[in-house]
């Protein structure tokens, strides 16, 4: 494919010929692996890790392909290609995940090499979105835009992505390995729930420094990560991460897949001994080899096209006027926008949680609409959030109402971000062979029951997370209200947890009582919300009232109603 110029890529890394050649080589490698599998030269057991490292699962109905969206950033042309793939090879829709990736549920193995080739043609792939290797590095959905951000983490996210791609030593780890990185003091990436969470900030000399958290995770054994290193200098970043992953590769458990994550190793050794191991490895390494030269960072940064952020002087005033004249628009601005660092700009959140809908799903037509809106309102740049929504990061305030009107016509203007209707749910037993229970129907019933926008705003900030099993892909441990699907004598039951958080106040939700059948679960959530509304003090969110009062009031609301 002839290519002489770099296509400008706003907010993400622009590929060059070398990157594209690599992607083509990867596609041909997989095409060959599929051929060997079909011929029987590879058994299913041998083929499985190879296909997982190209994002391909054998799932409940068909193959599922998890496409990588590195640090959640997409271009409009890429989104359009995802829509086309959905139409051509799947069932006209896709599902955005809690790690900022996209899943197609009805994929054929024999089509997958062609699908990967089409993705490669728009600089996309499914590399290492599964497997016992380093996965997608997730990032703040408002990176490069948020008013409270001190450093744009996407440059280092890209550096980590490249460094971890087909890493020769770290492709057969004891288990998966997940990084998250944020450049804001307000943790929007759940850094403390990752294997390694990085909080980036400018150091004294203006170069980035990183606070490194290690050993966080959810799943069977939820743990909040521990601070391993405070203020790690940028040039030591790769060496330090190599040291951490190397200690894990050497010493992580390989006898029991449920005890194989790095969080188990950190707990077993204790943070002091773990730190000693990492420091010893760091001291022994050939540091020149792993040094992150500032010139490399500058070079990667130069590949990120920067949008020209100039708004008219009266942009803010125009927005105020439109808000004053259109209550529905005013409500949507209250719930679905985020402050921008540049005067006259704002970030807009497109909710993929319509009332009664499937959280995180988008039809091919909706993907095309979002691509068009991104082109006209936000420099062609699209962000996928780990709460399964979409962000247009750089919208002129004087154009916000026009954007909202177009979203409203397309049914994409649900004003529920961060509210009870903004439910995070894994695909659950409808789609996932690991699940114990279906998560989507509960999400649908809850969002239908609480559809009224006025009611949602009255309830206020409320994170509900639903996981269909203990693998916790819905991040239920980190929900203000968490719902976990369990198998009770072959029937679907749901266990409730309260008080979790994935933000700076990271906390693991506490179980409040025995698991309930589905219809009682929806009623229980309603009872919890009622209890909150009765007992809350001014300015308290649900989770604040829970923390102040403790579980008793809420337990009684569910299990011993008066």
């Amino acid at each position: 494919m002839p290519d002489t110029a770099l296509a400008p890529a706003v907010g993400r890394y622009a590929y060059d010929q070398v990157d594209r050649t690599f992607l083509r080589e990867r596609v041909e490698q997989f095409r060959d692996q599929v051929a060997r599998r079909i011929a029987g030269d590879l058994t299913e057991d041998q083929f499985k890790p190879l296909r997982l490292m190209n994002g391909l699962y054998l799932q409940l109905h068909a193959y599922m392909l998890r496409v990588a969206i590195p640090y959640g950033m997409l271009g409009a042309a890429q989104m359009r290609e995802l829509a086309q793939i959905a139409r051509t090879y799947d069932r006209d829709y896709g599902h955005f995940t809690t790690r900022q990736n996209l899943q197609f549920n009805w994929i054929r193995l024999e089509d997958t090499p062609d699908i990967l080739a089409r993705l490669a043609a728009v600089d996309m792939h499914a590399i290492q979105t599964s497997g016992n290797c380093i996965r997608n590095v997730t990032c703040d959905e408002f990176a490069g835009a948020a008013a409270d951000e001190v450093l744009d983490p996407r440059i280092h996210a890209e550096i980590l992505r490249q460094w971890s791609t087909l890493h020769p030593e770290f492709s057969f780890l004891p288990r998966k390995f997940k990084f998250a990185i944020t450049g804001s003091p307000h943790d929007r990436v759940a850094a403390r729930f990752h294997d390694v969470g990085l909080i980036a900030r400018p150091g004294d000399d203006g170069r980035a420094v990183f606070d490194v958290y290690v050993g966080g995770g959810l799943g069977r054994t939820p743990v909040i990560g521990v601070l391993l290193h405070d203020g790690l200098p940028e040039e030591d970043l790769l060496a330090w991460l190599e040291a951490i992953v190397r200690v894990y590769n050497a010493h992580g458990r390989r006898d029991n897949m449920y005890k194989a994550r790095i969080k188990i190793l950190v707990q077993a050794l204790g943070i002091e001994r773990f730190r000693e191991e990492v420091e010893a490895e760091f001291a022994r390494m050939d540091r020149a080899r792993y040094r992150l030269d500032p010139a490399i960072v500058t070079g990667i940064r130069a590949r990120f096209a920067v949008p020209d952020l100039h708004a008219p002087a009266d942009a803010a005033q125009k927005l105020q006027a439109s808000r004053a004249s259109t209550p529905a628009f005013d409500r949507w601005v209250r719930t679905n926008t985020h402050p921008h660092r540049v005067a006259g700009f704002i970030s807009a959140v497109i909710s993929l949680k319509p009332d009664g809908g499937i959280p995180g799903d988008a039809t091919a037509d909706q993907m095309d609409i979002i691509a068009g809106l991104a082109e006209r309102y936000s420099f062609g740049e699209i962000r996928i959030t780990h709460m399964q929504n979409v962000v247009l990061g750089h919208v002129r305030q004087d154009q916000l109402q026009a954007l909202w009107q177009e979203l409203a016509s397309a049914g994409l203007a649900t004003p529920n971000i961060g509210l009870v209707g903004d439910i995070i749910a894994c695909p659950g037993l409808d789609y996932c062979s690991l699940a114990n229970a279906r998560s989507i129907p509960i999400a649908q019933k809850l969002s239908a029951r609480f559809a009224d926008p006025g009611l949602q705003e009255r309830i206020g900030a409320l994170r509900i997370n639903i996981s269909g099993c203990i693998n916790a892909c819905g991040h239920h441990h980190a929900g203000h209200i968490g719902i976990l699907g369990v198998d009770k004598r072959g029937e679907e039951y749901f266990q409730l947890t309260l008080g979790g958080s994935g933000e700076n106040d990271a906390a693991i939700g506490q179980i409040i009582g025995p698991a309930l059948p589905e219809d009682e679960t929806v009623d229980a959530i309603a009872a919890l919300i009622d209890a909150y509304l009765v007992h809350r003090h001014d300015g308290e969110r649900f989770v604040d009232t829970y923390r102040r009062l403790g579980a008793a009031v809420f337990k009684d609301a569910v299990y011993a109603p008066a």
Partner: protein, 111 residues
């Protein structure tokens, strides 16, 4: 394959299932020894006789283009062939949240 899938009681009867290798679709073993996407076409075995059938079938899975062969217990009291567990009913009849994605016909999308 999840160990939970392959549970059965000593009484009762089961069908045999797998995924098709090429397209991943759920298939059920018929009494002609072919694989159908429609569970209504599945052969049933009493549980005390099914283990050897599963083992024999699994031995030939590469030739037959399937992977992950196991047994699925049926609900005895149901009218037609219906799996006992919710999970297997979803595999057989499709995702409950997309009722139009029914597997009971041979065609696959976008042939």
């Amino acid at each position: 394959m999840d160990v939970r899938n392959n549970r059965r009681t000593t009484a009762g009867s089961s069908v045999i299932t797998a995924n098709r290798l090429l397209d991943g679709r759920i298939v059920w073993l018929t009494d002609q020894g072919t694989w159908s996407v429609d569970i209504a076409c599945a052969a049933t075995w009493p549980n005390d006789r099914i283990e050897t059938v599963i083992a024999d079938t699994a031995r030939h899975q590469q030739d037959q283009g399937v992977v992950g062969v196991y047994g699925v217990q049926l609900a005895d009291q149901a009218a037609g062939i219906t799996p006992l567990t919710v999970r297997e009913r979803i595999r057989a009849f499709g995702p409950t949240v997309h009722p139009h994605f029914v597997p009971s016909h041979e065609d696959t999308p976008h042939a």
